[in-house]
């Protein structure tokens, strides 16, 4: 053997011996178009994965499930990284990604991207569409402020300074309520005039205001996480705000910290998630009329929460520690499991288009 051939021989052997790379979930298979009227699940994805945010669509009428719906409609392009919020308006879905710091607008009929805006340096987190004033409000998670965008162009038309780590928002009339979570270190809700973008007041609640929802009686419910890291730890709390008075009128305490999200259903209950398990916890519910609390109404480890008013069903997501694809479970208002379906990595937000 001519030893000078060794480099070439080695190279050939090495190439031939290399193990084949398996196919991955980034390979998008062709699929039939998903319907417009369906249950939409935004999957958060793993941190650091630029392709992590994925869209799953569940057609409840036909019991059909569609994965990677955005990719299928956009030649394999992805939404971005860390999908945190999803809203619908006028035949479009608005997706917010805090990792890749962008908002994507998708046509619900074609599933094609209509527009996209980037916000360098801003971990955009929650989105609220104010169609009356043709605006979009977007919280900046680590920048203690809210961007005001033009609904049509997504151009920034204003910036509102609020408390720390703003997350959920709610709009009551002309007033925007911004929950300043502070990751358990802030305790306030900032009230903003949606027309002028001026801060008109601040409500002091409890540690970690994270999300808000409006009940059928017009009262605003705010979920405060508490702070598991405080000494001693602070448990979660719900507050009822009377927007007419700009004041808290009631509160409900829990014996654990909460995961931060709240949904108020057409059944008159407010649903929140506890934080006793890994990523999330059991579901508690409060009857909004008399504040009756049912702890552990649905036991388990849930991360995302939504109420389907049309079918009067509770949608809960389990992220399975972000180590596997998650799942969505559908419960009746009596707490019975009706159905579960597979989602993708880290299902976090569920929305309904009827």
């Amino acid at each position: 053997m001519n030893a000078r051939l060794l480099p070439a021989i080695f190279t050939v052997v090495a190439i031939v011996s290399c193990r084949n790379e398996p196919s991955t979930s980034s390979n998008i298979e062709p699929q039939p178009p998903s319907p417009v009227k369906a249950v939409y699940v935004l999957n958060e994805g793993n941190f650091g994965d630029p392709t992590g945010a994925r869209l799953t669509v569940y057609d409840a009428e036909r019991d059909s499930l569609y994965h990677d719906v955005y990719e299928a409609g956009n030649e394999g392009s992805h939404l971005g990284s860390v999908g945190d919020d999803m809203q619908f308006y006028n035949g479009r879905a608005y997706f917010v990604m805090s990792g890749s710091q962008n908002i994507v607008v998708m046509n619900l009929a074609t599933k094609r991207k209509e527009s996209e805006a980037f916000f360098p340096g801003s971990a955009v987190h929650d989105l609220l569409i104010d169609s009356t004033r043709n605006k979009v409000f977007v919280t900046r998670l680590f920048s203690s402020s809210v961007f005001v965008l033009d609904l049509t162009s997504l151009a920034i038309i204003g910036t509102i300074s609020v408390g720390s780590n703003p997350q959920g928002m709610a709009l009551v009339g002309n007033r925007l309520f911004v929950c300043n979570s502070g990751y358990g270190n802030d305790s306030t809700v900032t009230i903003v005039d949606a027309s002028t973008h001026l801060v008109t007041g601040t409500l002091a609640l409890a540690k970690g205001p994270s999300s808000a929802a409006v009940a059928s009686d017009g009262k605003l419910w705010v979920a405060c996480t508490g702070n598991a890291f405080a000494t001693p730890p602070v448990n979660g709390k719900l507050f009822v705000i009377d927007p007419a008075l700009n004041a808290k009128v009631d509160s409900i305490s829990f014996n654990e910290d909460l995961y931060g999200n709240i949904a108020i259903g057409a059944d008159g209950y407010a649903y929140v998630i506890g934080s006793s398990a890994g990523f999330g916890g059991a579901v508690h519910r409060v009857f909004t009329a008399n504040k009756t609390v049912t702890l552990n109404f649905i036991s388990g480890e849930y991360y995302g929460l939504a109420f389907d008013d049309a079918r009067r069903e509770i949608y809960l997501t389990n992220v399975r520690n972000f180590a596997n694809d998650g799942e969505v479970k559908i419960y009746t208002t009596s707490g019975a499991l009706r159905k579960s379906f597979a989602a993708q990595r880290g299902p976090s937000v569920v929305g309904f288009v009827r």
């Binding site: 630029p50 945190d84 990604m97 990792g99 890749s100 720390s164 598991a228 180590a323």
Partner: protein, 676 residues
């Protein structure tokens, strides 16, 4: 994202006597003396100095790789990380560019499982058991010793997958002054100055180096079919270091040496690029000071060594874009450690040696992301033996047995853990065979090893992460079996092969624990098995030097991390199942009155695909990289002028070693050095 956002903070800061064996060296440490008439050769013995009982490398019982001298010159390297990357079984986890964090993993385990030593003494940080390999300049290093497989019987905690010993450049008798300067792509600049010599019985060497770069390299960001060309931002760096080495001969049999090093760096942390708009403004400062004083004494049968080390380090990380609860993320951590390591080696008979000694260390750590100031003391003692069990015969050169045992008592806060670490090694060297004059050696070792929980794992108190003071050490059993041989055929060939099997239990993992937090727990069992093969050939005239290696590993999680965990028997993330390296050097020493040496080295490295998710559904693709350098040495008027031109990532590959951390494309570097 909910409060999961907090958890990302954690990895940012986390986000840490065996008788080793057959050295594998193709350079001047392992040279061949060729007699043109008899065509015989003599292997020079290579001593692995890191070992508590220094060992002739060819008779060690576990796998060792040594890089020194000319071998180091063949590699395009600014820092230690690039020097180690070609070693079989090692995988450098590179967070991108010159400024990115660089840690070392081997045999399928994590960076916290390989102990890093400097001149034989531990420098791994107790905060996270890590060493940023980028902070050691390549020109500061004289020699590298990589001990593969568990080495707790030698070094105590953390040497679960192996250990790396960095041997610093020593002083020399001859008075000398060296100056070097480099310029390269992406604003890279380097300046170094060193000099020293002998003054009576004192040998002194001082060195200063400065390095900086913009690291604003272009790279591609892919979103499905969309390809966007971006430029890396906030990845600039500046570093400065100074070293002083001196040795003083106290008598013919005794010597004292002093080594001191101070390092400073300021750098941007470019972070992950998860979108075309993703930006980072995070900055990091590092300061590291170390002093070692060693005393050696020896007689015919006795060798005594006493080592004393002081080491302090400081790290500050701040990110103005990361404000939690109204407070900008601005973390700092500092640590100090004193250690003293006495040891004695004694030759009992012509066939038996024994070594015993100990280690006493006191470490302290403080930081605003730790629940409290931490104090740790380590008291360890070892005994190691070497005994020739069988007499030499026509076939074998004896059967060597290497038993060793170490006991460590490690007290952190109020908790004390005691750990026994036994190891048994066997080596069977054969006489040179008639066929190709081959001289094979078989070896095997089995050991119990452990890793002690880091300060972060015990007492972290940052957003989303809570340390667990009740953690127990990780424990493992390591088996290493190998064979090596040298033979002659158109030059000298060296072949070494190893099989390893590491069975680890109680591996510490950060898991969600309710309360919107993650916390470390002793929950994971891991089994890592694989092979490492290395080959080298040097032509008879020493003109051509070829080295190549290949490793294949299978590292699987064998237990549940949480109830219902489906990822059992799944490959661990960011571990390439295959690596390969090929290097070809043509070097010629010339009789020319001016041009004295000319060398060209080409190298290509391969890293197999790496899974990026725990369910093995996503991966980073494999990549081949190539590099080349041309080196010349000119002697003129008593000066040696050395020129080095190098190109890295020759074919301008877009690749990532860790997800979303872009790596530079093709880059160049030009170095001039003057030696007097």
């Amino acid at each position: 994202m909910k409060l999961r956002a907090q958890i990302i903070v954690v990895p940012c800061f986390v986000l840490s006597a065996s008788m080793p064996s057959v050295a594998f060296s193709f350079g001047d440490q392992d040279s061949v003396t060729t007699d043109s008439t008899q065509r015989s050769y003599v292997m020079q013995e290579v001593f692995v100095t890191a070992l508590r009982l220094p060992q002739t490398a060819s008779l060690s019982s576990s796998s060792v790789t040594i890089l020194s001298g000319e071998e180091l010159q063949r590699i395009n390297a600014s820092s230690l990380s690039q020097l180690l990357a070609p070693v079989s079984g090692l995988f450098v986890k590179d967070y991108g560019g010159s400024s990115g964090l660089k840690t070392l993993a081997q045999r399928g385990l994590g960076p916290e499982h390989t102990l890093v030593l400097l001149n034989g003494m531990r420098v791994s940080n107790p905060q996270n058991a890590l060493v940023d390999l980028g902070v050691f300049g390549a020109d500061e290093i004289e020699r590298l010793e990589v001990l593969h497989g568990g080495q707790s019987a030698t070094f105590g905690a953390d040497a679960v997958a192996g250990a790396v010993n960095i041997v610093s450049a020593p002083g020399t008798d001859a008075r000398n002054v060296n100056a070097s300067m480099s310029v390269g792509s992406f604003g890279y600049k380097h300046f170094g100055l060193s000099g020293g010599g002998r003054i009576a019985e004192l040998i002194v060497r001082g060195a200063y180096r400065e390095e900086k770069g913009n690291e604003n390299f272009p790279f591609s960001f892919r979103n499905g079919p969309e390809l966007t060309r971006l430029v890396r931002t906030n990845a600039d760096f500046t570093s400065r270091s100074g070293t002083l080495t001196s040795s003083y001969r106290l008598s013919e049999d005794a010597e004292a040496t002093l080594y001191a090093r101070s390092f400073f760096s300021e750098r941007g942390v470019g972070g992950q690029v998860v979108g075309p708009a993703a930006t980072s403004v995070a900055r990091q400062n590092d300061n590291d000071n170390l002093a070692q004083l060693t005393f050696h004494m020896q007689s015919d049968r006795l060798r005594y060594r006493m080592g004393l080390q002081y080491h302090d380090s400081y790290l500050r990380y701040r990110d103005n874009n990361f404000v939690v609860g109204g407070v900008v993320l601005d973390s700092d951590y500092s640590s100090r450690e004193w250690r003293i390591e006495p040891r004695v080696e004694y030759s009992l008979t012509s066939t038996s040696r024994i070594a015993f000694g100990g280690e006493i260390a006191f470490a302290g750590g403080e930081g605003n992301l730790l629940a409290k100031d931490i104090r740790r003391s380590t008291v360890g003692g070892f005994v190691a033996g070497e005994h020739q069990l069988l007499d030499e015969s026509e076939l074998i050169d004896g059967l060597l047995l290497y038993p060793s045992l170490r006991l460590d008592a490690i007290t952190t806060g109020a908790n004390t853990l005691s750990q026994w670490s036994p190891q048994l090694g066997v080596v069977l060297p054969f006489h040179a065979l008639a066929f190709l004059e081959a001289k094979p050696t078989l070896r095997a070792s089995i050991s119990r090893n452990f890793r002690v929980p880091t300060f972060n794992e015990l007492f972290y108190a940052g957003g989303g992460g809570i340390g667990n003071p009740n953690l127990q050490p990780e424990r493992s059993t390591s088996i290493d079996v190998g064979a090596s041989t040298v033979f002659r055929l158109l030059g000298k060939h060296v072949v070494q092969a190893s099989y390893f099997d590491i069975d680890m239990s109680e591996r510490i993992m950060w898991v969600a624990a309710g309360g919107q937090s993650v916390t470390p727990k002793n929950i994971r069992a891991v089994r890592s098995r694989g092979i490492e093969v290395a080959y080298g050939w040097t032509s008879n005239d020493d003109l051509i030097i070829l080295s190549a290696n290949y490793s294949s590993s299978d590292t699987r999680k064998t237990s549940q991390d949480f109830p219902g965990d489906r990822n059992i028997n799944i490959q661990l993330v960011y571990i390439p199942q295959e690596t390969a390296y090929l290097s070809l050097t043509i070097a010629k020493s010339l009789d020319n009155p001016v041009l004295k040496h000319l060398a060209v080295s080409f190298a290509s490295s391969f890293a197999g695909f790496r899974y990026t998710t725990e369910d093995n559904r996503n991966l980073l693709p494999s990549h081949w990289l190539a590099q080349v350098n041309v080196r010349t040495r000119v002697e003129l008027a008593g000066l040696s002028l050395i020129t080095r031109v190098e190109a890295n990532n020759l074919f301008d590959k877009d690749y990532q070693i860790l997800l979303s951390y872009p790596m530079p494309g093709r880059s160049y570097k030009l170095t001039f050095a003057v030696e007097y």
